[in-house]
Symmetry: D3
């Protein structure tokens, strides 16, 4: 466990293999500083290599999920592109692009960690918050949750994943575009109706409990089957059906060597609950 | 008709050009043996070349649509990868990959046959059943239908199309991932709400009748228009909008030579019902 | 304003930067003649280069949005492919393909103009009408609106965008295919339920007013942020998530040079309403 | 012929269908002004629709093929990005990108005109000259020709096609990169050795005569076969082998309707020279 | 061996695992009838599944490699598209496209069989002959060999692979286009200079012997390594470098389970010649 | 400089901005241990962010460029896949795939560092050596150099880039496949003839001097122009021509803000040698 010590995150891993990650900057309304997203990237990259982690839950402490980007930090950081007028714009652009890519990679680590991640949203989920939850697999929310694709209101297009993933997460393009262009507030109920969140719960605690339950259920399955499913879903989203099938064929030609298959089939026939070793 | 004799399938083609395919292994709960999916592949490939078939309906006999893969057969077949420990895993993997590809191709024949296929689901639709119905164009169900993406429960990732097609069939990624990771049971009502099935009916018979009606309607349209529409929808799903448009342009530069167009336009102006020759 | 004089379109641009485009061939039920779609192409291409336009609304005059393709014209035009039997089909096909591509490009100008476009549908929206509204960003409708993917009924597959964009606009593939194969009538309520239109309004006037309100809101945002968002949403729809992210990084490395960002952030901190110069 | 009146280009079309295009700004060493490339775009786009043009030859008048971009014009034009420091960089970038795309489209018209284009190079071919000849199908040169990928020497990366097409035109990546990074001078002999030009000739006149001979030969072939071959080569360069094959299948299912095929086969069997009508 | 009985092909498999396939219609100058290419498809598909075949050599009997398509058969076959004027062109086009795809698949079987194929060319290699040898891995020729991309001379674009593979086989686009547009004769020496063939030999017999030697050498290597190398080269040709790398990673994560690796490494350290079991 | 301290590499950066990287394990014939390739990855990733580095040269110390993978280490490392028979193959495969990806990423850092890299080969260049030099931009060699794609001789397919990049580096597919299937030795002269190396030199010292000269020349150019050229060449290799053009347009819309452009143009007009600040 000692491997998961962070400043902005609390990480706890259950015996069943459920990692609970809590964003923990409540005083700053969990605003995303560079430290915050760097740690997100580190944490989920580590999960990729850690057999003890089979599924993860991502929630946040305090009043809301996140108020979005840490604008105070941004005002003096690499995004503060107008601060020094004398710089060569092409040179600054070269490094600024690398900075954006690094930020994107940190959030994409949620997707590439191969273990399913369930987001639990309560209170506001603004700006970068939408990028983050779009990179998760499953989203549940408290009744008080609300969502704002805030970026146009700070004069920019969302660039950490919202414009890439949100339209593939919900099947209503008219709605996606409207909320991206207007930065209007979306209630938990509307988010559920459109499919952004799966289930709504009376409180953050209830939402978290439900997420932990689902995560425990996933953690009880064959980890080979689960990581394969996540990896193949992501691969297939980005390829043609035929390419997805062909990639799956070579993947499973390897994965079918797992002893989890006879274990699972035997348990199924014997109506017992199978136990699978960690990945 | 004599061309469509199968062991595991009943095939009947109406005068209007609607082919009704019934999976017929009721004692085995329509479990998919190698023979079953091989015949599916043969049957729909034949439809591709058969001008008498304009639309198809796929249903199943007995208690449920399908219990999934025939595990008894699988336990001794090519999927039984742990049966002979002494084999070279790379060599076996080479042939096992070819086996998976062959299985995939058989089910993909539903998609590539060019004639629309309407699935009618009643009772359980498990595992490979989801792969099959995802490859169909339209899905209707009886009230008693339920759906389980069962593969993680036998220790593997679904590999015959579910992970490729299901997320493109329903527009709710959070839901897709949850049911794929958990293998939980989905009711007919939930399936309809999420868009997996279009309409629900009181019984299997009612669902089948509705499907046959829709199929008859489709069969009454210009077969050139119908097969073109299916082919172009599938092509466009797998390409950029611009590539889809360009492919459509060359396709229709040929298809517009059809005499169905003046026939249809004339009938439209004269308010008569047009008759179109078979493909 | 004098730059926007058309035969089939009325164009009016508000001081806020909302361009209202009205298809204006009410006697012909706004049937799409070559002149009509040519002007659509010209108008929206011009918007791309006109900093005074920040958002657009597309509606139609008279009884309905559009009855579809102008069949009278088509009967004697390039689509009339069976009129002269003696022609070399390959040569005619060469030019016919170019004609289809030109038609497609005209409608795609709605998408490529970079400024968001809100469609307002009332009465019937048939055939090419579906191609047109699928190329818009947001769709609102009057209660009396109905929709028919009419092309199979004139013996052809839709070729101006419906088969490419509609399945990416609504997340219900079973529904998309059914309405494309059957050419059945879809009510405004069904269109809303499936996500084809966002909001329904008592009358065309109410729908138009709502669209103009949303457009005004969008026009009040940073135009750099808004055109970036539309451009990146379209790019990302057609690429993998990773490619979308990388393209976004270089795009924003340039766009972040905008003075709109400090303006917006300052206004956000000071709780004032920011003013952004035109693009 | 009167359709091809340009300021910077001379166009002459032979009875056989060979269009000779001569870049004609000898005093400016055929430097590419906006007028020049705009006319290139117009001319070759027109060829696409002109059945009288079956093949084209592109050469230049005066001392050399081209000295490259017209730097005098550029110093005051849209490329002069540092001229007005006070502008919003994001806004200027929006329009500057559209300008580059327009420039690219003009040169790409050589590729998309569907009729083969043979470039004849003499003297220097610098900067934009490489973009232009890379967009041609076949390149022949006089012994005195030399080539410089000049862009790095004006502080920028080539952006009108060289970096996209040159590596696909010659099969020597080490050489391509070296000449692009160093802007060193390449002799006609080296250009031939590496495959950039096919044949070398004693003089510009000899090179032009050879190009006209090849063009006449191509113009004597079935125009359906020739434009199909060019279109399919370009399509296939940009797609997988399998996608290229599938696109070819639909293309030829149309093109095989040409009467040129029986004409050609009959002539082949009868050992006569076939005559093919214009496209 | 009895499995490889064909009308138009002689097949002989050596003990080392080299399959020698000889096209054997010398009286017809090995013109490709439907029977011929159907058997090519069957033969190489069978090789894919036959562990006894580790490498293949493809040559032809009689005066030349092949005179191209069997025009006599074509004049009455599916390519004879102008024979019956009364047919519906769209309907015929539907089936004609399927015919071309079937023809393409037969020749692509050379590529997809996974075992390297060495073509031995002597005398003429015309039309479909170029499609065939482009699908092979390695090409050697006799001094008397010559090559013609003949299709434009029968009024059509090559459609069985030449336009897809030839430009990726030789790195000289100017040359590829010239020979495709002009159908001019290419000598063995020119073919070697441009890289179409690797080595030239005094006679067909010498060329065949050299090919058999190379094939024997390949057959002596680990079959897991060899089929993996061919498969990955083909995959990577059609994908980005990064996608090729990622596919390779999963492929080799399976293939590295082969016992051939320790066998080969041990033999390498002990300077002995390793023996590898068949695939 | 102190930032570039490695165990297996010597790094020296000239005042002009040329980084000379020497692989320095001469006793092991520069065999690639995990430490070696990890440091390659670190070094070139660092170059990406280091404005002092404008171009790099990669050579090796001792008798040869590299003998290939460190087989001693491999025999006990993650590649030793048959060492522990009892492991779950699917689980081991999961981590083994991650290991290959990490190895690939390290070598790909040569490509993604954005600064051109010139490889200097002397003596043997085996196995992983081919992966490495294929990832470089330009290759020069000493007369004594030789090349072997060695992987099939250790029972595996090359998996660190050779199969992806080599066919795109040299334009002779028949040759590429032959050397990959046979693992035969290729002389420096043959490598030059086929385009694998650009220039040959009498000795390693001469080759290194020539590479340093070219590198100095490149380092004297605008760094914005040079990194843009490399980045765009790599992007365009992996995309269609049109996509490459569009990406270039947005890239240069930013890069054209560089002050290097007026500096370069002014120097060009004044015939002076321009000085460009570091990136």
């Amino acid at each position: 466990m000692s491997n998961y010590k962070f400043e902005c995150l609390n990480v706890n891993i259950t015996d069943e293999g459920v990692a609970h990650v809590e964003i923990n900057r409540p005083k700053a309304l969990n605003a995303f500083s560079t430290q915050t997203w760097t740690e997100i990237g580190q944490c989920f990259t580590q999960f990729k290599h850690d057999g003890n982690v089979r599924c993860a839950v991502l929630s946040a402490s305090g009043r809301m999920f996140t108020a979005g980007l840490d604008l105070k930090e941004a005002a003096t950081g690499p995004l503060a592109t107008n601060s020094t007028e004398d710089v060569d714009r092409a040179r600054r652009g070269y490094y600024h692009r690398l900075f954006i890519l690094k930020f994107q990679d940190a959030i994409s680590a949620i997707e590439t960690c191969n273990k399913p991640v369930i987001a639990v949203i309560h209170g506001g989920c603004l700006g970068i918050g939408i990028d983050v939850i779009s990179a998760c697999d499953i989203r549940v929310a408290a009744q008080d949750a609300y969502f704002i694709v805030k970026e146009v209101d700070i004069g920019m297009a969302a660039d950490i994943g919202t414009l890439q993933r949100l339209p593939k997460v919900v099947g209503n393009d008219s709605w996606v575009r409207e909320v991206c262009y207007t930065a209007r507030k979306v209630s938990a109920q509307e988010a559920q109706a459109v499919g952004l969140v799966g289930s709504l719960h009376a409180s953050k605690e209830a939402a978290l409990a439900a997420a932990m339950d689902t995560a425990s259920l996933i953690a009880s399955k064959s980890p080979v089957a689960v990581v394969s499913t996540k990896h193949l879903l992501n691969y297939s989203r980005d390829h043609t059906v035929q390419e997805g099938l062909e990639y799956t064929a070579i993947w499973n030609a390897l994965a079918h060597n797992s002893k989890d298959m006879p274990t699972a089939i035997m348990a199924s026939l014997q109506k017992t609950k199978p136990q699978f070793p960690k990945l």
